[in-house]
């Protein structure tokens, strides 16, 4: 091959190489972040969950392969696990029931007030999560108006709300409501108003239009909102800690106590891992069934 030909053919290759290198350089910060703050902790957590105690030294653990950590943790704490998912499930459902009409109203009838209404939805988040949850202690206090009202109707099994499961679920619902409203709003707002008109043109009453057009078209928002509510609610411990009694502890509380009080790192890690795995399985099944795979 003549030198001229070599020179000509070499040039584009260099450009192509440089271009692909640019891609990697741009990916580097993200990948580094992912490695340091996700991959390494993930592996560490998994290793910790399999550690075994150092004999004779309380709170000291060494590397091992104790699969029994998982079995023991589950045997002991399965009621809290179950409770977490039930509380989170009820809270998610309640949040959906409250958020859907609200998001629908803001998106469809909000008009020029929409930005303000959305700010109002997020506004409470400017105050600390902890503070707002504490506030619920006052709202639901034993002599408070809400408790008195329900007591007058003899609707409360324990004659109180605070320090019961009801308070925990109420707190969860309240705290994660914005995460339900916002995706719902985004989905409903995106619906072409002409589809609603077309539906009413094709003999649907307002209720039928909601059932046959608006609801199915807002499903991506419903799925996103329920996930954004359910996942953090299932792992939450603040609400159970501040609003519930020891009988209402959720898995988050168990993990926290094991880590910080009992220093039982393997059990806490094993519980964290199981929580993660169960949520992943639930999420996948849910998305499959809702037919919204494009969200993944």
């Amino acid at each position: 091959m003549s030198p001229i030909l070599v020179a000509e053919s070499a040039k584009p290759v260099v450009v192509a190489q440089r271009r692909s290198r640019t891609g990697y350089i741009l990916l580097f910060p993200g990948l580094t972040w992912l490695a340091i703050f996700f991959a390494i902790p993930f592996v560490t957590l998994f290793m910790t969950s399999l550690q075994q105690p150092v004999p004779g030294k309380l709170g000291k653990y060494q590397a091992g392969f104790e699969l029994s950590n998982y079995a023991n943790a589950m045997a002991e704490y399965w009621p809290q696990f179950l409770r977490s998912f039930i509380y989170a499930g009820i809270a998610t459902l309640l949040a959906l029931v409250i958020a859907y009409p609200l998001a629908y109203f803001i998106a469809m009838k909000g008009g020029r007030w929409r930005p303000l209404l959305l700010v109002l939805v997020i506004a409470p988040s400017f105050a600390s999560f902890l503070l707002r949850t504490y506030a619920w202690r006052t709202i639901l206090a034993d002599e408070g108006p809400i408790t008195s009202f329900f007591n007058a109707l003899h609707l409360l099994p324990d004659d109180r709300i605070l320090n019961t499961g009801i308070a925990v679920v109420a707190g969860l619902t309240y705290n994660f409501l914005p995460f339900m409203i916002l995706p719902l709003y985004a989905a409903i707002e995106k619906i072409d108003p002409r589809l609603i008109e077309a539906s009413s043109d094709l003999y649907s009453s307002a209720a039928t239009t909601l059932r046959k057009v608006t609801w199915p078209l807002s499903l991506p928002g419903v799925v996103a909102g329920t996930l954004l509510t359910f996942i953090p609610a299932a792992g939450d411990y603040i609400n159970a800690e501040l609003l519930g009694s020891t009988k209402d502890r959720m898995i988050g509380n168990v993990i926290q106590t094991n880590f910080i009080e009992f220093r039982d790192y393997p059990t806490a890690s094993a519980l964290s891992f199981v929580l993660m795995a169960v949520i992943l399985v639930l999420v996948f099944t849910y998305i499959r069934r809702a037919g919204t795979e494009e969200l993944l």
């Binding site: 008109e197 077309a198 009413s200 043109d201 094709l202 003999y203 649907s204």
Partner: protein, 386 residues
């Protein structure tokens, strides 16, 4: 089937009347076009008939039945929406079946399949709307509306989103479907060619009112207002004064020239009268051959300022001595030299092609604003007195 009546229909948005005291009867089984520029109130009219907009005043009737206060879903009327508004979460079959299912029809399969056959989409029944081309989506929209056998089918700029070639094809297709089902079609469009080729009756709307209504050829040949003369096709309009009569013709003098306008073709009330003629009705002669023009014809002398050859025809712009630019279309049937820019020419046309309009109107009514700007710019740039 029954006629659709609009009686004194008015729709105000704030202080602006989008539709202004409109009274109109659309005969059953007709293909009716509401033609107008955007913002003329045609879509608002359609939406009021569909029940998607509440009239401020007036009545809508189908036959003897007053439907003014019925909700959209209670009206025997269906709409083909602009850009179709097909339900993206349903497949084609379910989109078409939607109306039947809402009315509790048990067997939807047979009618839906028949309807898909009518619009030639049977093979695509299980596709989602996004998987279809624009033309196919358009036909689904028609099928979805027609399957309900409405008394009136409303079409809101149904072909607006299609490219030119497909639009021509769909015009023929829609016409065929209308012939086949015999339903009243009310078609809203800003495309005059579309309105003229498809509709049996065209109503030209301007500022919430109907300027003129009739079959397309009649309106084109004999516009009754300046707006119609300029909006539907093009017109050359010369303002003059009536100077008496010659038999059945009104003699109009303008810029030192006298034109004959058949009295039956004039809508002028007073002496001020606008003489109008369509560009293709005029003939161009080189000025030296001017004597060849028939004596009875109306004539104007001028100078050619522009020649555009467009295959089928040639468009001349001719500047009159009083600095008005006239447009002439001439069929390309002459062998040999055409006139060229700068030639002195004589324009002539038969009095029976002339129409007279009331002189109190703005001669630019109905001309697109951008065209007016261009004309003003051209006049300003033109070097004088060469």
């Amino acid at each position: 089937m029954e006629d659709l009546h609009l009686l004194n229909l008015t729709k105000k948005f704030g202080d602006v009347a989008a539709v202004d005291d409109l009274t109109l009867t659309i005969p059953a089984g007709s293909f009716f076009a509401l033609l107008g520029a955007s913002g003329c109130g045609k879509t608002t009219t359609l939406r009021m008939v569909a029940g998607l907009e509440d009239p401020t005043a007036g009545t809508i009737r189908i036959g003897a039945k007053d439907i003014t206060n019925l909700r959209a879903f209670q009206r025997p009327v269906n709409t083909v929406f602009q850009s179709y508004a097909l339900f993206p979460h349903l497949d084609i079959f379910e989109n078409v079946a939607f109306g039947l299912r809402r009315r509790g029809v048990k067997d939807v399969k047979t009618p839906v399949n028949q309807m898909l056959e009518l619009v030639e989409l049977s093979a695509l029944a299980r596709r989602k709307p996004t998987q279809l081309s624009g033309g196919q989506q358009q036909r689904v929209a028609v099928a979805r509306a027609l399957i309900n056998e409405p008394d009136v089918l409303l079409l809101d700029e149904p072909l607006g989103a299609l490219d030119l070639k497909l639009r021509r094809q769909m015009q023929i297709e829609l016409k065929r479907i209308q012939n086949e089902v015999g339903t009243t079609f009310v078609h809203v469009t800003h495309d005059q060619e579309e309105a003229m080729t498809m509709a049996d009756t065209v109503a030209i709307m301007n500022a919430g009112r109907i300027e003129q209504m009739g079959n397309p050829a009649t309106i084109y040949e004999l516009p009754k207002t300046v707006f119609v003369a300029n909006f539907l096709g093009q017109s050359n309009l010369i303002t003059g004064t009536a100077q008496g009569r010659n038999g059945d013709d009104i003699l109009v003098s303008a810029h030192g020239q006298t034109y004959a306008v058949p009295a039956a073709r004039s809508t002028a009330a007073g002496d001020s009268i606008i003489v109008g003629v369509r560009p293709e009705k005029m003939t161009v002669l080189d000025a030296p051959d001017g004597h060849k023009a028939p004596a009875s014809h109306n004539k104007i002398l001028g100078r050619v300022t522009d020649v555009s050859y467009a295959g089928v025809s040639t468009q001349y712009l001719v500047r009159t001595p009083w600095e008005q630019e006239l447009t002439v279309f001439e069929q390309n049937v002459i062998v040999g030299d055409r006139c060229s820019v700068g030639d002195e020419v004589l324009l002539h046309w038969a009095p029976e092609h002339t129409f007279g309009l009331d002189g109190k109107q703005d001669v630019h009514a109905g001309v697109a604003p951008e065209v007016l700007d261009l004309e003003a710019a051209a006049l300003a740039l033109e070097p004088r007195g060469e």
